[in-house]
C-alpha cells in the first residue's frame, strides 16, 4: 500500500483514472525500456504519453475481442485529455456538476446506449475505503465467467475485463512486427520516424537509471591495491601472544587509581579556558621604544630604512606554477655565484603552510647582522667585466706599414767562421763585413759579389767594421784584435779615393808636429796610443792607418761628421781609464775621456754619439749614460732594467726639436727596450720576443722608414715599426712586423750584427754561420 501511495503521489492528479488497468503499476511502467525512453524524449508530456501508448496496446487487443472495447477507448480519452493539462482538474469537476452524467451513444446494433460517467466520490464518501476496482460479483466462483471476456463488474457496473494471459500477449506481440529501434516518434529534424540504435537505447536506459558518469569520472582509474599483492611468506614473529596481553595491567590500574585519588582530593583541576589573560596584561609594563620617536630630517647619520617592495607571487609559499623554476633554472641558480644571483631565494612550492620548513639562512643572517653591528667589514669581491680583447692595444696591420724587409734576397758567402760585424756604406751600394777569419770584405750589396777583401790578422777576429759617414770619402774602420785599422777600399772613383786618402793622411803631419809623449808616459798604461802606418802588405790592400789600443775594442761608432769615432774595449780586464777612447781622424789623436769606471754595472759595453747633439751615450752592463761633451757633464742616466746590455741605438731624428730622444736597447737577457728620454729613465716599452740573447739593435738610419730591427742568438731577426711623431704629447707606436729566419745557429750563436740600408727598407744581417744576408 505504501508503495502504491507513493506512486500515486508522484503522478499527481493525472493518475486517478488510469489505475483502473490495475495490472500496470507505475513502477512497472518506468521499468520498461521502451516507454521509459520515450517518455523522457517527450519531455513534460511523459505521463500522458505513457498512458496513451499503453492504452493503444490495449486498444488493439480489445478491438480484436469485441464490442466493449470502444467503451474502454472513450473512457480513456477523457483522462488522457485531463492528463495533458494538469490545471484541467477543477474544470472537469465543474463540468460534472453542470451537465447530466449520461451520454447516449449508438451501440453496434444502432440502439441507444446510455453511458454513465464515472462517479467520483468525495473524500468523505463512505466508499472511500472500498477498493475502487474491486469486483462486485460477490461470492460466486469465477468459473461462471469463464465463457465471457470479463470476470465481473466494478462498483460502477462496468465490466472488469479479464486480464490478458501471457500467451495471448505474446501472441499479440508476435503478430505486431516492430522494427528494431522503433520508437513510434517522428524525428523533428527530418520528419521521418525516429529510430534509435542499440547503443543509444543503452545510453537512454543508463540515463534513466541515473547511471551516467559525471564530469571528472575516470573510467580507467588505476587499480588501487588496497591489500598488497605480495604476501609475506613468514610472519614477523611466530611467538605466541604473551599472556600479559590478556591480563589487565596492575600498573595501569595503580596509575588510574592515583589519578582518581588526585581528582578526588582536588589536586588535578579540570582545564579552564585562558580567559583571564587580559587582566594579567594590564599588570605588565611594556615599554614602547618608538613612542617618542620623531621624524628626523634626511641626514647621513640618519638614513631611513629603505622601503621594501610588497612581496610578490614568487615569495609565496605556494606560488602559481609559472613562478616555480624548472630544473634548468634551478640548476643555473645553484651554479651561479651568490653575488650574481638575481634574487636570493628560489620560489618553492609547499602544498600547505604547515609544510613550510624553517628559514634556512636564519643563522647565517643573524651572524652577518652581528658582523655588521661589530662594524666588521667583509671583503667584497669587485668583479671586472672587461673583454680581454679590448685590453690589447690597437695596432695597425703590418700590411699597412709596408715596406719592410720580408724575404732573404741575397746571401753573402765567403767568410770562414763567424761574421762578427757588418755595415752598409753611406751610398748604399757596398756592404763591409768582418769576421772570425780576420778579414774585412766589401761586397756589392745587391748581387752578393765580393769586391774587396783584406786579411788584417791571422789570429784575431775582426770585431767591428764601420764605414765613415758622409759621401765625401770612403773610409772603413775595422777593429781587429788590439788594433783599429782605417782603410780605403779601392772601390770608389779616383776623385773620392784621393779625398779619402787625403783625409786619412792629413793627420800624420799633425801627429809629427806634436812630439810623442815622454818615455815615462809611455810606460803608463793609460798613455794615449800613437797611430802607426800599416805594413806594406796591408798598405797595398788599402789600409792607411793603424791605431794600436793594447786592449780589444769591441765597438766602434762614428760621429756623424766623420772626424771622430769612439771605440769601447768592453773586456773585463781592461782598465777603466782606457776602455773608452775617442779618436780624431784629422789629428791622428786618441783620447781617453773617462778616467774612472762608470758607476753601477761593470765595464762599458758600447758607445754612440748622439746624431745631432754633442752628447756621447755610453752603455755599461746595466745603464746607459749620456755625457755632454762640450760641457763635460753627465746629462742622462737610463736604467733599462736589463742585466747586461749588448747594444743600443739612438733614433736618427732624435733631437730637442723633433720630439725628443728615443733609444732602443738590446740586452743579453732577451729584452728589447725602448726608451723615450722625455718620459722617464725607465723603458717606455719592453719587448720580449726572442728566445735568446739580443746581440744587436738598429734603427733605420735617416728616418726615412720608421723601422728598427734586432738580431738575436736564436738565429732570427725581428723587424719592428716604431714611428716617432714630432708631437711631444704622443708616444711612439711600436708594431712588431716580421720575424726573419734563415741564419743557422752555430755554436749557440745566431745573428751577430745587423744593419739597415741607408735609403731602402732593406736590412743586412751577419750570422755566426759565416753568411751575411740581405733582406728586402
Amino acid at each position: 500500500m505504501d508503495a502504491r501511495k507513493a506512486s500515486k503521489k508522484r503522478k499527481a492528479v493525472t493518475r486517478d483514472v488510469e489505475e483502473e488497468a490495475g495490472v500496470f503499476s507505475g513502477d512497472e511502467l518506468s521499468g520498461q525500456d521502451l516507454d521509459g525512453a520515450l517518455s523522457d524524449n517527450a519531455n513534460d508530456l511523459s505521463d500522458s504519453e505513457d498512458d496513451e501508448s499503453e492504452i493503444e496496446l490495449i486498444d488493439d487487443v480489445s478491438s480484436d475481442e469485441g464490442e466493449e472495447e470502444e467503451e474502454e477507448l472513450d473512457s480513456d480519452e477523457i483522462p488522457s485529455d485531463v492528463g495533458e493539462e494538469e490545471v484541467k482538474k477543477p474544470a472537469v469537476k465543474e463540468w460534472q456538476a453542470d451537465e447530466p452524467n449520461v451520454r447516449i451513444v449508438k451501440d453496434a446494433n444502432g440502439n441507444d446506449r446510455y453511458l454513465y460517467d464515472e462517479i467520483n466520490p468525495d473524500d468523505n464518501s463512505d466508499y472511500s475505503d472500498v477498493e475502487e476496482n474491486g469486483n462486485t460479483i460477490g461470492d460466486i466462483p469465477l468459473s461462471f465467467y469463464d465463457q465471457y471476456p470479463h470476470i465481473g463488474y466494478d462498483i460502477n457496473g462496468k465490466k472488469i475485463m479479464r486480464p490478458a494471459k501471457g500467451e495471448a500477449l505474446d501472441a499479440l506481440l508476435d503478430s505486431i512486427e516492430i522494427p528494431k529501434g522503433w520508437t513510434g516518434l517522428t524525428d523533428p529534424a527530418t520528419g521521418k520516424p525516429l529510430e534509435l540504435s542499440q547503443e543509444e537505447l543503452e545510453l537512454l536506459k543508463k540515463v534513466q537509471m541515473n547511471e551516467i558518469p559525471g564530469e571528472g569520472y575516470d573510467q580507467y582509474e588505476p587499480l588501487v591495491e588496497y591489500f598488497t599483492s605480495q604476501q609475506e611468506i613468514m610472519p614477523l614473529s611466530a611467538a605466541p601472544e604473551p599472556k600479559r596481553r590478556f591480563v589487565p595491567s596492575k600498573h595501569e590500574q595503580k596509575r588510574v587509581m592515583k589519578l582518581v585519588k588526585a581528582i578526588r582530593e582536588g589536586r588535578i583541576l579540570p582545564y579552564k579556558a585562558p580567559e583571564d589573560r587580559e587582566e594579567k596584561d594590564e599588570n605588565e609594563i611594556n615599554f614602547d621604544l618608538w613612542a617618542d620617536e620623531q621624524e628626523r630630517p634626511d641626514h647621513i647619520m640618519h638614513v631611513p630604512a629603505p622601503k621594501l617592495p610588497p612581496p610578490g607571487y614568487e615569495e609565496s609559499y605556494h606560488p602559481p606554477p609559472e613562478y616555480i623554476p624548472d630544473n634548468k633554472e634551478r640548476k643555473a641558480w645553484e651554479q651561479a655565484d651568490p653575488e650574481d644571483r638575481e634574487k636570493e631565494f628560489l620560489p618553492n612550492d609547499f602544498q600547505s603552510l604547515r609544510k613550510v620548513p624553517g628559514y634556512e639562512n636564519f643563522v647565517k643572517e643573524k651572524f652577518e647582522r652581528c658582523l655588521d653591528l661589530y662594524l666588521a667589514p667583509r671583503v667584497r669581491r669587485s668583479k671586472l667585466n672587461i673583454d680581454p680583447e679590448s685590453l690589447l692595444p690597437k695596432l695597425p696591420s703590418p700590411e699597412e706599414l709596408k715596406p719592410f724587409p720580408t724575404t732573404c734576397a741575397t746571401v753573402f758567402r765567403g767568410h770562414k767562421g763567424r761574421v762578427r760585424s757588418l755595415n752598409v756604406d753611406p751610398t748604399g751600394i757596398w756592404l763591409a763585413t768582418g769576421g772570425d777569419d780576420g778579414t774585412v770584405r766589401v761586397w756589392e750589396i745587391l748581387t752578393g759579389r765580393q769586391l774587396w777583401s783584406a786579411k788584417l790578422s791571422d789570429e784575431d777576429a775582426v770585431n767591428v767594421v764601420r764605414w765613415r759617414p758622409g759621401k765625401d770619402a770612403v773610409i772603413l774602420a775595422a777593429a781587429c784584435g788590439d788594433d783599429i785599422f782605417l782603410s780605403v777600399p779601392p772601390i770608389a772613383d779616383p776623385e773620392i779615393e784621393k779625398a779619402s786618402l787625403e783625409t786619412l793622411d792629413a793627420g800624420w803631419g799633425y801627429a809629427a808636429s806634436n812630439p810623442t809623449p815622454s818615455a815615462s808616459d809611455e810606460t803608463k798604461k793609460s798613455a794615449p796610443p800613437t797611430w802607426i802606418r800599416p805594413s806594406s802588405a796591408l798598405a797595398d790592400l788599402g789600409v792607411c792607418a793603424v791605431i794600436p789600443l793594447r786592449y780589444i775594442p769591441k765597438s766602434i761608432s762614428w760621429h756623424r761628421r766623420g772626424d771622430y769615432f769612439v771605440s769601447v774595449c768592453s773586456g773585463a780586464s781592461t782598465p777603466a781609464s782606457v776602455a773608452i777612447a775617442i779618436h780624431t781622424v784629422s789629428k791622428h789623436l786618441t783620447q781617453f775621456p773617462f778616467r774612472r769606471r762608470l758607476k753601477g754595472g761593470g765595464p762599458p759595453q758600447t758607445a754612440h754619439f748622439h746624431p745631432s747633439k754633442p752628447i756621447l751615450f755610453v752603455a755599461n752592463q746595466r745603464s746607459v749614460r749620456g755625457y755632454d761633451l762640450s760641457r763635460q757633464l753627465l746629462v742622462k742616466i737610463l736604467q733599462p732594467g736589463a742585466r747586461w746590455i749588448s747594444s743600443f741605438d739612438i733614433h736618427p731624428t732624435s733631437s730637442s726639436a723633433s720630439g725628443g730622444d728615443n733609444i732602443i736597447i738590446g740586452s743579453y737577457d732577451r729584452r728589447l727596450l725602448w726608451h723615450d728620454l722625455d718620459l722617464s729613465q725607465r723603458p717606455y716599452k719592453t719587448l720580449r720576443y726572442h728566445r735568446k740573447a739580443i746581440r744587436a739593435v738598429k734603427f733605420h738610419p735617416g728616418g726615412r722608414y720608421p723601422l728598427f730591427a734586432d738580431a738575436s742568438d736564436d738565429g732570427s731577426l725581428q723587424i719592428f715599426h716604431g714611428s716617432v711623431t714630432g708631437d711631444m704629447l704622443s708616444n711612439a707606436s711600436i708594431v712588431p712586423l716580421k720575424v726573419l729566419k734563415g741564419h743557422k745557429i752555430t755554436g749557440e750563436l745566431g745573428v751577430l750584427d745587423i744593419d739597415w740600408h741607408p735609403r731602402e727598407a732593406w736590412c743586412v744581417s751577419a750570422g755566426a754561420d759565416g753568411t751575411c744576408r740581405l733582406w728586402m
Binding site: 741575397t410 751600394i429 745587391l446 752578393g448 776623385e495 779615393e497 797595398d540 728586402m776
Partner: protein, 489 residues
C-alpha cells in the same frame, strides 16, 4: 630510353655555343672564310686546338692558345661564359695564336766567373739589322758575354769561345763587367764597375773560328760602377746608368765625343804606391760623355732608348723613380715615382708601356706618357727575388721575359692577366730554371736568395732564343722550338 635520349640531346643542344675562329697570322689562318661553328661549351684549350688543327688539316699539329676579348682562355668555354656573364646565344669571337711552347734548354756555356751580361749577334738581332750594309749569314750567330772577371767573350753556337777581350794590363776592364752589347757586327760596347764604358773592335778570322776584340775607345765620366748600357747604332749613341746617380749619354764616334774629364782618368789616382798597373801598355783614346743626366737620387739601375725614338731615353733608379729624358737637350722630361726600387727597364712600344723590374719581386708596367693617369698600369707577379733584367719578345708585342735573382727566367704574356684587388695582375706563362741546378740534381730545391743561381742578364733573339746569364757562371740558351721554326718562314 627514348626520353633519356631526348633530354640528353636537348642538353647538348643547350650547351653549344657559336664561335668564330680567327687568326691574325696568315700562315695559320683558316683556309676559306669558315663561318661560325657550333661547338660544345665544355671544350677547353686542348680540344679547341685539336679542332683548329683539324680545320687546318695540318699534318703536324700546332698547339694553339685562344684569346677571347684579349685574354687567354684558361678554363672551359662554359666557365668563361659564366664568369664573364656572356650568353651562350651570342657568337664568340675567338682569336687563336700559336701557343708558346715550353722553351727547351739548348746549350750552356761555362765561364770562369759569374756572367753579368749577355748579348746576341744574329740576323735578327738589332746590331745586325742596324748595320744595313752587311748581310748576316745564318749559322753565324754570335753570343757575347761579359763576366765579373772583367773579360768579354764571344761565343759561337757550338759553345766555343771565338774571342776574349784583353786583360786589364792590355787595355781591358780593370773590374767586373756589368753590361755588354753588340753595337754592330764588328763593334762591341761594354760597361764595367771600373766606371768606364769601352768600345771594342771585333774582327773574325779563319771562317769564324777565331776572332779578336781590340780596344777602340774608353769613355770616362761616371764616378761609380756602371750598371747598364743601351746602344743605338744608327745614331752612334750609348746610354748608361751608373751607381753615381747619373745617366750617361755617349757617342761611339771618337770624333764626336768630348775629351775625358781629367780627374777621372786612372792616372790621376793618388795611390801611386800601388802595384796595380793601371796604365796599360796599350794606349787607347779616352773620351768623355756627351752629357751626364743627373736628377736621380739613387743609383741608376737601367737606362734605355725609346724603341722608336732614339732621342728619348728612359732611366730607372733605386730611388724608386722612372725618368724620361730628352736626349737632344739632355733635359728631364718626366718623372714617375713608384713604391719600390727599380732595377731593370724595358720598353714595349706597341703598348706604350715601360716594364720595370723592382726589388719587390715584381714587374711594374708603367705608362710613360704624360696623359697616363695611373703610374702602374699592370703588375706582373711571380718572381721571388729582385727582377734585374728584362727583354722583349721578338715574336710578339705582348711577350716579355725577365731575369731575376731568384734564379729563374720567366716568360710573360700581357694578355694572360687577371684582375686582383691591387689592379691588373699578370702571371708568368713559363718559368725557366737554371740548368746548373738540374745538373746538380737539385732542380726542385729552392735556393735562399737565389744563391748561386741568380740571373743577371737576359736576351731574347728571334734566331737564337732566350739567352740568360747568371751567377752559376753560365750562359744558358733556351728555345721554344715549335714557335721559332714555324714563325721564321
Amino acid at each position: 630510353m627514348s626520353e633519356g635520349q631526348d633530354s640528353a640531346v636537348s642538353e647538348a643542344a643547350q650547351r653549344q655555343v657559336r664561335v668564330q675562329l680567327t687568326s691574325k697570322q696568315e700562315d695559320i689562318a683558316l683556309p676559306e672564310s669558315t663561318g661560325p661553328i657550333l661547338v660544345p661549351t665544355g671544350l677547353r684549350r686542348y680540344a679547341l686546338s685539336t679542332l683548329v688543327n683539324n680545320l687546318l688539316s695540318s699534318e703536324k699539329p700546332i698547339p694553339f692558345e685562344f684569346l677571347i676579348n684579349g685574354t687567354f682562355l684558361r678554363t672551359s668555354i662554359d666557365e668563361y661564359l659564366t664568369a664573364n656573364g656572356i650568353s651562350s646565344e651570342t657568337t664568340l669571337e675567338i682569336e687563336y695564336v700559336r701557343a708558346l711552347i715550353p722553351p727547351l734548354h739548348i746549350a750552356s756555356f761555362q765561364h770562369d766567373d759569374w756572367v753579368s751580361a749577355t748579348d746576341v749577334l744574329s740576323a735578327t738581332a738589332p746590331a745586325a739589322t742596324w748595320a744595313s750594309g752587311a748581310t748576316f749569314s745564318k749559322g753565324q750567330e754570335r753570343i757575347l758575354s761579359g763576366s765579373y772577371d772583367g773579360f768579354l767573350r764571344v761565343w759561337n753556337m757550338s759553345s766555343e769561345t771565338i774571342a776574349t777581350s784583353p786583360a786589364a794590363t792590355e787595355g781591358g776592364h780593370t773590374a767586373s763587367i756589368k753590361a755588354a752589347k753588340f753595337v754592330s757586327p764588328n763593334q762591341i760596347a761594354s760597361a764595367s764597375l771600373d766606371r768606364t764604358v769601352r768600345l771594342w773592335k771585333y774582327t773574325e778570322e779563319d771562317g769564324g773560328f777565331s776572332g779578336k776584340i781590340a780596344p777602340q775607345l774608353e769613355l770616362y765620366g761616371h764616378k761609380s760602377g756602371i750598371e747598364s748600357l743601351a746602344v743605338h747604332a744608327p745614331s752612334n749613341r750609348l746610354l748608361t746608368g751608373s751607381s753615381d746617380h747619373n745617366v750617361g749619354f755617349w757617342s761611339t764616334k771618337k770624333a764626336d765625343a768630348p775629351a775625358a774629364p781629367e780627374n777621372l782618368l786612372p792616372s790621376s789616382a793618388a795611390r801611386s804606391s800601388k802595384k796595380r798597373k793601371l796604365n796599360s801598355s796599350v794606349s787607347v783614346p779616352q773620351r768623355g760623355p756627351l752629357a751626364l743626366l743627373s736628377a736621380h737620387t739613387g743609383p741608376v739601375s737601367a737606362a734605355i732608348f725609346d724603341a722608336r725614338d732614339s732621342t728619348v731615353g728612359y732611366s730607372a733608379s733605386w730611388d724608386h723613380s722612372l725618368r724620361t729624358w730628352d736626349l737632344v737637350t739632355a733635359s728631364l722630361v718626366d718623372t714617375r715615382t713608384t713604391a719600390h726600387s727599380l732595377l731593370s727597364l724595358e720598353h714595349l712600344p706597341d703598348h706604350n708601356l715601360l716594364a720595370a723590374g723592382t726589388s719587390a719581386r715584381h714587374i711594374t708596367m708603367i705608362d710613360p706618357r704624360a696623359s697616363a693617369t695611373t703610374v702602374a698600369a699592370m703588375t706582373l707577379r711571380g718572381h721571388t727575388n729582385a727582377v734585374v733584367s728584362l727583354a722583349r719578345d721578338p715574336h710578339s708585342s705582348y711577350g716579355l721575359i725577365s731575369g731575376s735573382h731568384d734564379g729563374t727566367v720567366r716568360l710573360w704574356d700581357l694578355r694572360s692577366t687577371k684582375t686582383d684587388k691591387e689592379g691588373v695582375v699578370g702571371e708568368s706563362v713559363y718559368s725557366i730554371p737554371r740548368k746548373s741546378l738540374e745538373d746538380e740534381g737539385k732542380a726542385e730545391s729552392k735556393r735562399v736568395g737565389g744563391e748561386g743561381v741568380k740571373v743577371f742578364s737576359v736576351c731574347w733573339d728571334e734566331t737564337v732564343g732566350i739567352v740568360s746569364a747568371g751567377e752559376d757562371k753560365r750562359i744558358q740558351i733556351n728555345r721554344g722550338e715549335g714557335v721559332l721554326s714555324s714563325t721564321k718562314e
